[in-house]
Symmetry: C2
Subunit: 428 residues, 2 copies
């Protein structure tokens, strides 16, 4: 077995061509075998997870982190089910997205191929080991998994089960490579294997993502944070706006598509805000507002600059009253994180202006920010949410793990039929 | 006027939203105004270019480099014409690529938006200043241009003309920002402005591209080199294959889509190779071959490992006889640069095997490698050819300077209608 990181990564790269050449049916069978293997190893995985949990508790790990780390029979069943669901997704590989015949008779197709080798860098959640592996493989890629050291026993147990399914399917196990060396310098080395790794996707806290972005020499698609805004326009339906506000802020405040800031047009402020603040408070939400907001409701703490830039991930919301749609847009440009923004309005012109001016990955008109999720948007599942405006922007599904290339067919066409050599002076 | 690089880049980023909000007609008008302004300044540009040429000659610059640097009336007319052609391209911005209504009634569109701020890093060719600016602006992006110091006077003169057209069109001149500080550390600083620059595209020699890749913290799409292969299959039409060989190697040997290596199936070798070698030699091509090739023709120098990995950019070709299609594929995987590979064959099964197994950006069946070019493949023009398997792979046109994002429209749909808070434990 190869020992050094580079050897492991090279073996993974070699295995990538085996995965890339599988047809859809073979990949579906592989994923179903992976699901079955993981289900069969549930006890082993739970034992391994118990070791991780004990070590984490001894290290004084926070309850929130412990909960992310924890597996039980129901969670393992959920992971197994998720792999089976990925096996039902449309296969993006080999899809012809466009085809054109040029005047000289050559046909030019754009066809999706896998990216190659994807490095997933993540933290405490062991489910990512299986989720990411399934989606990468379904899109024809090999995958190198580098999870957090807290979850190492769990990750090894999960990867061992999944690799057994690869081997039983006649595919090199290296197509799913877990890095079990927890040192940061090993992660840095992985992030600099520019001749092997085609894409690194970090998933976790802002600290991890910044570390990856800083040290990577391979391409990285990152997702820093979600500072999502709801703008309630002068023409908004107040009942609809309140529904979006409550769902966006309270249905799951700890996730990246939860609302962090409420912007309200001044013409709506006196009718909408007192009622909205009362409702939020009843749901346990702390309000931090600007002067106008504070004048409209009792006991609203002042919102600082930091509050408007914050991803609270908690039952806290920053509120500001704006004079115009443009002021709302300017606020979002200044404080937003390019993740998801919502406008509540009955005015189609305002909606269009908002959609055009906002450059976030997901922009919503009269729908909850909580739909900013691969499953909800029709991708089946997601491997992350990109706030990098390159390759993929927003929730990334299987298709985002492929790229279009050119396939040209001709009947002997050449560019210079006279076969004369052309002056090389001015480019190609 | 802002003086520091960061201030200039920030002004460019602010101007990006002005460009992004222009409709297609306004962008076409802007580009036509840019073309007219450049034509009007032809004499000034030629004077500036004369200074660059004099300095370059005094520095002992090579003839090839001097030719890249040189402008004359005809070349300026060509640059002006190229800008006008970009103005006729389809506008990728605002295009809805997909639309789906989800079961809950929300509609999910994928709509193209500009990337934002693009940094072009290039060397001696002053035409890139205009070409890149036109294509970036047509795709709704602001652009920061950092050309080689050899062409600085020329670039300043061209940018001055183009910026006048921006100003006359009511668009902030900063949308087209030329960095006139030739120091490498300034380029490095530019490449690390992660909060401003959305994409860096280096164009030039391998040294420049490796330097950019090494120092960039912003995303980079690179194109190292084109080691393009022609594989003549056992079932190839020899006349067709020879036509592709001659066009690919001799029509313009100094460009990246020229052929560098010829692979011939052993069943074709004795009939095809002697004739092909004779033809190439008559066209002035030096042949470097493996043992089998050398046995079939007189005076063929032995090909080294380096020859098979080389981008000769000259009238030299490496030749190898392979036993099977798979051996040809393995050779290309080992020595190729992911740019463009060609198979000549009459066998559709062999063609499909080749297309599936080869992961290069462009793969051709019975067509010349020289078609691997944005114009020839129907993109109108190109800003470069990506050999990075992310975002864009192969020739990059205007569309590659945009990204798809999500636009969602609803009627008040929420994810958790009961508005109950959900356990935050397991992800989003």
């Amino acid at each position: 077995m190869p020992s050094s990181l580079r050897d492991k990564a090279l073996a993974c790269r070699d295995a990538a061509s085996s995965i890339a050449s599988l047809d859809t049916a073979a990949k579906r069978c592989l994923l179903l075998a992976m699901a079955t293997a993981l289900a069969a190893d549930a006890t082993l995985v739970l034992d391994a997870n118990a070791k991780d949990m004990a070590a984490a508790r001894a290290n004084g790990t926070s309850d929130a982190m412990l909960d992310r780390l924890r597996l039980d029979a129901s969670r393992i069943a959920g992971i197994v089910r998720a792999i089976r669901e990925v096996a039902t997704l449309p296969d993006p590989v080999g899809v012809t997205t466009r085809c054109e015949t040029r005047p000289n008779g050559i046909t030019v197709e754009r066809v999706r191929i896998p990216l190659g080798v994807i490095a997933m860098i993540y933290e405490a959640r062991p489910n990512v080991t299986a989720d990411a592996a399934a989606l990468c493989l379904m899109a024809g890629n090999a995958v190198i998994l580098r999870g957090g050291s807290d979850a190492m026993h769990s990750n090894i147990a999960i990867a061992t089960a999944l690799r057994r399914a690869l081997a039983a399917s006649g595919i090199p196990e290296a197509a799913l490579t877990l890095i079990d060396d927890p040192r940061r310098e090993t992660m840095v080395e992985l992030l600099q294997l520019t001749d092997i790794v085609d894409l690194a996707i970090p998933r976790g806290g802002e600290g991890l993502i910044r570390f990856v972005a800083e040290h990577a020499r391979v391409p990285v698609i990152k997702h820093y944070k979600g500072v999502c805004h709801l703008y309630v326009d002068r023409d908004a339906d107040p009942v609809l706006a309140l529904r979006l506000l409550v769902d966006g802020k309270t249905s799951r405040p700890g996730v990246c598509n939860a609302l962090e800031t409420l912007l309200v047009h001044k013409d709506m402020a006196s009718t909408f805000l007192p009622h909205a603040i009362e409702k939020l408070r009843r749901l346990g939400v702390e309000i931090r507002g600007d002067e106008v907001t504070r004048a409209l409701a009792d006991d609203v703490a002042p919102a600082s600059e930091d509050d408007y830039a914050a991803e609270f991930l908690d039952l806290i919301i920053a509120v500001r009253v704006v004079d115009t749609l443009d002021e709302a847009i300017a606020h979002i440009r200044r404080y937003g994180s390019d993740h998801t923004e919502v406008i509540a309005t009955r005015d189609p012109v305002a909606a269009d202006s908002f959609v055009r001016a906002i450059r976030s990955a997901v922009v919503m008109v009269n729908a909850s920010s909580r739909f900013s999720d691969g499953g909800e948007l029709g991708l089946g599942t997601e491997i992350g949410i990109s706030t990098t405006r390159l390759h993929a922007y927003g929730p990334m599904g299987a298709e985002s793990l492929t790229v279009e290339r050119f396939v040209v067919r001709g009947e002997g066409q050449v560019r210079h039929p006279a076969s004369e050599r052309v002056d090389d002076a001015s480019g190609q």
